[in-house]
C-alpha cells in the first residue's frame, strides 16, 4: 500500500484560469472592495518588482529574486494579517511586505546591499528577509511560542518555497507547532522550482501540504493564483491559529514566471512551453478578468492605477537611490549593545583607513 493511497489532501480553487467562478463563491466576495484591493495591490507589487529587476539590470542594485507571477499568495496572506501579528517572510515576498506597509525603498535598500533596509519602524516586530532556507520556520515557531506564553492572540505567519520543505528545519518547526498547538500559518509558496530543481525531484510526496500531516497539522492545497481560494484558506488558518486551535500548512500552487534571481538564467534548465503555459494561469490577469466580468474594473481605472503605481515607485526608487552610504561606524555599532573594547579599536582603525583613502562605497 503506497502512501498516496492513504492520505488525502483537499485542494481549494474558485476561479478558472480565465477568471470564471468554478462554483459558488463565498459570501464575502459580494463586497467588491476586498477583491479590488487585492487587484490593486498585486498590480502595484508587480510594477515594483519589475522596477527592482530593472535596477539590477542597470547596475543600480544587486541580485534580486522576482516575485513575478506569485503576487497573489503574498498579497492575500499579508492582507489578512493584523498589524500586531508577526510576519516571518522569505525573500520572494515583496508584494506582502508592501501590504504590511513596508516602504518599497526599504526592500530595494536591502537588495542594494544595505542593512538599513530591514531597520525602519515600519517593520514593527516582523522579521527581516531570510536567506538561509527554512531557518525562518524555526523563528516562526519561536515567535508563536512567545505569543502563546504571554497569552497574546496574535499569530505568526511564515512563508517559504517548495525547496524549503526539504530542509529539516521546516519539519522540526511543523512538529513543534503540532505538539505545542502553536498559532502559526505556514505558507508554502510552491512555484514548482527551487532554482533549477523541479518540484518532482524535490520530493516524492504527491503534495507538499502533506508534510503537515506528519505533524498532525491541518494541511491543505490551494490554487495560489486564485485570490478567492487563497483568502478562504488563509482566513480559516488565521482564525484557527488565533483561537488557539493550532497551526495550518497551506501549500499554494503557483509558478515562478521569472528566473530564480537576476543572477539566474532559467532557460538553461526549463522548457519555454512550460513557461508559456504558466503565463495562462497567472493571478493578475485572472482577477482582472473576473473584475471586468463583474463590472468592477475598467480601462480607465486600470490607467489610473498604472499611473499611481508608477508615481509611487518613482518616489521609492528615488528614496532608495538617494540614500547616502552609512557611516563606517555603523558596521561596528550594532553587533553588541555594549561595544567590546577590541572591536572599538577595530572601528577606529576602519574609520581612519576610510578617511585616509577617502574610500566610498558602492553606488555612492
Amino acid at each position: 500500500m503506497k502512501a498516496k493511497e492513504y492520505c488525502h489532501i483537499p485542494y481549494i480553487r474558485y476561479l478558472s484560469d480565465e477568471g470564471e467562478a468554478l462554483h459558488r463563491l463565498p459570501a464575502w466576495t459580494e463586497n467588491s472592495d476586498v477583491l479590488v484591493d487585492y487587484y490593486r495591490s498585486m498590480v502595484i507589487a508587480r510594477a515594483g518588482d519589475a522596477k527592482a529587476v530593472a535596477l539590477q539590470r542597470t547596475g543600480q542594485m544587486g541580485t534580486y529574486p522576482s516575485a513575478l507571477g506569485q503576487e497573489a499568495i503574498s498579497t492575500v496572506c499579508c492582507s489578512l494579517l493584523e498589524k500586531e501579528d508577526v510576519l516571518i517572510p522569505y525573500y520572494r515576498d515583496l508584494p506582502g511586505l508592501m501590504k504590511r506597509g513596508i516602504p518599497l525603498s526599504d526592500v530595494l535598500l536591502y537588495w542594494g546591499g544595505d542593512e538599513r533596509g530591514s531597520a525602519s519602524e515600519a517593520w514593527g516586530k516582523d522579521f527581516p528577509n531570510c536567506v538561509p532556507i527554512a531557518t525562518q520556520a524555526g523563528h516562526a515557531a519561536g515567535v508563536a511560542t512567545a505569543l502563546k506564553v504571554r497569552h497574546q492572540h496574535q499569530v505568526a505567519m511564515v512563508s517559504m518555497g517548495d525547496g524549503a520543505t526539504s530542509k529539516g528545519d521546516f519539519t522540526e518547526a511543523l512538529n513543534l507547532a503540532g505538539v505545542w498547538q502553536l498559532p502559526i500559518v505556514f505558507i508554502i509558496n510552491n512555484n514548482q522550482w527551487a532554482i533549477s530543481v523541479p518540484r518532482k525531484i524535490q520530493s516524492g510526496a504527491p503534495t507538499l501540504a502533506q508534510k503537515g500531516v506528519s505533524a498532525g497539522l491541518t494541511s491543505i492545497q490551494v490554487d495560489g493564483n486564485d485570490v478567492i481560494a487563497l483568502h478562504e484558506a488563509v482566513n480559516a488558518a488565521i482564525k484557527q491559529a488565533r483561537s488557539g486551535k493550532g497551526a495550518t500548512v497551506i501549500e499554494a500552487i503557483t509558478y515562478r514566471l521569472g528566473d530564480h534571481t537576476t543572477a539566474d538564467d532559467a532557460s538553461r534548465y526549463r522548457e519555454s512551453e512550460e513557461l508559456q503555459e504558466a503565463w495562462g494561469r497567472e493571478p493578475i490577469k485572472r482577477l482582472r478578468n473576473f473584475l471586468y466580468q463583474r463590472g468592477l474594473w475598467n480601462e480607465e481605472k486600470e490607467q489610473a492605477l498604472q499611473k499611481e503605481a508608477a508615481a509611487l515607485i518613482d518616489k521609492e526608487v528615488k528614496r532608495y537611490l538617494n540614500t547616502p552610504l552609512p557611516e563606517i561606524s555603523d558596521l561596528f555599532d550594532h553587533h553588541y549593545a555594549q561595544m567590546p573594547a577590541q572591536l572599538e579599536k577595530q572601528k577606529q582603525h576602519a574609520i581612519a583607513k576610510a578617511e585616509a583613502m577617502n574610500m566610498g562605497g558602492v553606488h555612492s
Partner: protein
Amino acid sequence: MNSSVSETVDQSIPKEVSEKLTMVEAVNLALDHAMADDQDVVLLGEDIGVNGGVFRATQGLRDKYGLKRVMDTPLAETLIAGISVGMATQGLKPVAEIQFMGFIFPAMEQLICHAARMRNRTRGRLTCPMVLRAPFGGGIHAPEHHSESTEALLAHIPGLRVVMPSSPVRAYGLLRAAINDPDPVIFLEPKRIYRAVKQDVSYDTAILPLDKCFTLKQGNDVTLISWGAAVKETMEAANTLQEYGASVEVIDVATIKPLDMETILTSVRKTGRCVIIHEACKSFGVGAEISAALAEEALTDLKAPVERVTGYDITMPYYRMEDHYLPKPDDIIKAALKTLSFH
C-alpha cells in the same frame, strides 16, 4: 533587573540565606532567581522539565514556574536554537539548554546566521537576548560525543558572547549576567567540575561582569591563563609552582568572546612569561588567539615563548584513554618551568 513584563519578585527567594552550593546547584539557583526577577525569562530544552535536566541544572523549576516557562522541547537542536531566536526577538529571554556540547552542531546555522546577527542586520530593531547553556568538556567517563570542547568555533563568530564559569560563585554571577545581557550568550558549563567544590551562593551573590577576566591569583614570574574545568588543574599547578618558589599569576578568562586582552596583556607585560591551558584541541583553539595577540602586542615584553598546554589535535578519545588527552597539572608545571628557565 530588566523586567519588562512584571516587577513581581517571587517571595520564596531566600534573599539572606547563603548556602554552600556546587556549581550545578549554583546554575540552578541563578536560573531560579532570574525567573523570579523577570517574567520574560523562560527555559527550554530536552528533558529540562520533570526530569530537571540530565545534570539537574533545572531541577524544581518546572514545579515552581510552570509548563509555560519551563518547556521540554522535542528532540531537535536546530529547533531549540531557532525558536530561541524567534522568542528573543519578541522580547522573551529564552535560556535554552543543549544537553551536551557535542550536540550543539545542529544549532550552528541558527547561532551563526541568526542569533549572532539579528541586532546588526536590523540595526537594533530586533535583538536576540538569549542564552544557550551547554555542559562541556571531558573527564567524567561519558560515552562518545559527550565530552567535547569546541568553544573555539563559537568564539570566532561576531555577535556572540561565549562565557564559561569555573566556580559556583562565578557560575551564579556570570549566568545571571548572561541572562540580563541584551545579546546572545553561549554559556558553557564545565561539567567535570559541576560538583567539584561548594561555595556560598545566595540571592546576594554578585552578578559579575561579562567580557572581563578574573585574576584568581596574583604573581610576578609567570601568568597561567585558563578557563572552564582546566582552571582546576591550573590552580593546582600554580600552588605547586608556588611551593617551588615561583610567583604565579592565574587568570580565568571567563568570557572568551569578546576577549579581555587588556587584563591578559597587563599581566603578561608584568610577568613576561605565559602558559595558556585549555582542554580543546590545540590547533586553531582559543589559546592560539591569546598566544598570537600576546606575541603581536607584547613581543618585546615576552621573556620566553608563550606555552600552550592543551588537548591534542585528535578526536576526544573514548573514556578508557581520555586521561591521556586531558592536560594535567604536571603538564602545566612542566610548561611553566620551561618558560621560567628560558633565557
